[in-house]
Symmetry: C2
Subunit: 339 residues, 2 copies
């Protein structure tokens, strides 16, 4: 590896001069600087990120904290899209991405310690149990963090607009004439809480009274749970005409159950998902769903974090709400009178 010392010898200047020339300091003669840069290029010089990090106390490395659980980790398209987007935006600003987890090697570390150990300049947190003490410790530490879909006091967060999304979905369904709308929700997370509240609020605004039985507890990313919930809904005396699922993937369970009972979508039952993953748009009929803008979320999270890292003085914690968009699909039947 060619180092700054090699260049210095070759140019008959000190290492300091090379460093300054390469970093564009003003106290180096323009010609000298140009020559040094030229030689550096010829020799194929690359700065050593490690040495730089040690000296500057900045690693230009961003940690990402995603859970490992198969259920909602990288296997979930929503999160893999976010990750990809975070990565791209971070790289545009000169940052690399490193995964943060517990227990690196034999030493037991918590998330904070791992991030410190790796000198991460900041951490992006998504898809974790936000009540985990280790997560809370990290968020309350000296390391800048940005969370996704969860707000911590005095910390920046990027949020998918679940309230608007659910409202839009319900209004769309209502617009197609549906009055009996069931909702299978996910685990009791803050996301679920928001969607549920928005569901109730929107229904109330529309003058709908939703029976208790139309609200079913399911699980994110779990077709089996959705299948069972669907079965319970179909067993009701007064069946809903439309079922909203926790997410697109778990809808598959509902799809199977409907098929099993000989009901066709959307003729006999209207359905909608949430997320707008690739699968939802290749199914036929195309699934009506609300697409979360994972790309924008990842991008925004990375931007926010870089901002905190590079301009800590002027930084003020912000919660950025990212809107999604309705994918109308073909799974909501129009049951208005006269249609």
């Amino acid at each position: 590896m060619v180092t700054i010392t090699d260049i210095a010898q070759r140019c008959n200047v000190s290492r300091a001069t090379v460093s300054k020339a390469l970093n564009g300091h003003s106290d180096i003669n323009a010609e000298t600087a140009a020559h040094i840069r030229q030689v550096a290029k010829e020799m194929g010089y690359l700065p050593n990120a490690t040495a730089r990090a040690l000296k500057l106390g900045r690693s230009h490395n961003i940690g990402v904290l995603f859970v490992d659980k198969t259920s909602s980790g990288l296997s979930h398209e929503y999160f893999s899209r976010i990750l990809e987007s975070v990565k791209q935006e971070a790289e545009r600003s000169g940052y690399d991405i490193t995964f943060i987890s517990r227990d690196i090697g034999t030493l037991p570390m918590d998330y904070y310690e791992h991030a410190k150990y790796r000198n991460c300049d900041g951490v992006i947190i998504a898809s974790v149990d936000f009540t985990d003490p280790a997560v809370i410790k990290l968020v309350n530490s000296d390391i800048p963090t940005v969370t996704l879909d969860y707000v911590f006091d005095s910390r920046s967060a990027v949020l998918s607009d679940n309230v608007a999304g659910m409202a839009e979905l319900v209004r769309f369904v209502y617009g197609k004439g549906h009055r009996k709308i069931a909702f299978i929700h996910g685990e009791p997370t803050s996301v679920t809480q928001k969607r549920l509240a928005s569901f109730h609020k929107t229904c109330a605004e529309l003058g709908l009274t939703i029976p208790e039985a139309y609200i079913e507890a399911g699980t994110f990313h779990d077709p089996k749970a959705s299948g069972l919930a669907t079965r319970r809904l179909l067993a009701l005396k007064d069946r809903p005409t439309c079922i909203l699922y926790p997410d697109d993937f778990s809808f598959i369970g509902g799809m199977n159950e409907l098929e099993r009972q000989g009901l066709s979508i959307p003729k006999d039952m209207s359905v909608a998902g949430y997320d707008g993953i690739l699968l939802s748009q290749v199914l036929r009929p195309r699934l009506t769903t609300y697409r979360q803008d994972a790309e924008a979320m990842g991008r925004e999270a990375a931007k926010q974090l870089v901002e905190i890292i590079e301009r800590p003085k002027e930084w003020i914690p912000r919660q950025v709400m990212i809107p999604g968009s309705l994918l109308t699909g073909d799974t909501i039947r129009d049951i208005r009178q006269g249609f």
Copy 2:
């Protein structure tokens, strides 16, 4: 952050002694070492990975190279499973994972330069265009690499056993009485080449003559292409009784086309996928497919790489073949006489 110097002062010993005590060198008195370790723990000492990396020339950081294309990057479950598995195994050995890409920040870098810049001890390469000069440069460099599903000379590789997988799939289908088996394959990659060759070889061994028209060119992870290929197959005078798809996800396109033509699976057409992603096993009927053991592949790749990094002398390039397993599913109809 508490450094080795802090501990040294607190213990009234030199930094050298602390370092040695912490690393278990033999020239430190057992009691002294124990005391130092005790104090280090009390003070919450964590080694600085950056400083260590600079001095030792080893970063304990593994780069992973995945393409960014939406088609087959992280959004593909096969690769996200591999990544997760690589990460877990790497962490067990004390390594972290960093993404490698071109152009970090403003400086244009190729993969090799990026890996060098970050002092990666090794790189795991998957899901890329293996003919890309930048990839080839990396593979032929001084940086240890392990490739997935592709072999470079004098380099270690971990391979999914596509030959055995396809053979097993074909034999299973044959065992159910099918003689007219069509195969929609993916892009002309080495994986496709192997599956195709294995398909032909197995058919020959079974005494089957497969008409040219039964071999269709599709695209991985692309339901649309599979849908079109399916349509062409269904338009044949002498239709196949079974269609093998490039992968589980792209099968969705075939599923839609069959549905559109009023054909039911497996009554009117038998089908099989490849990969064994979650989706395949929540569909009803359950998809017959060959599950690639992505977890084992990621684990093995990480193990191999750590081996190269830590024991470069005794290392010999190896190609490890990872077997998968047939998921019989319910999409192959038994059409044997008398059944």
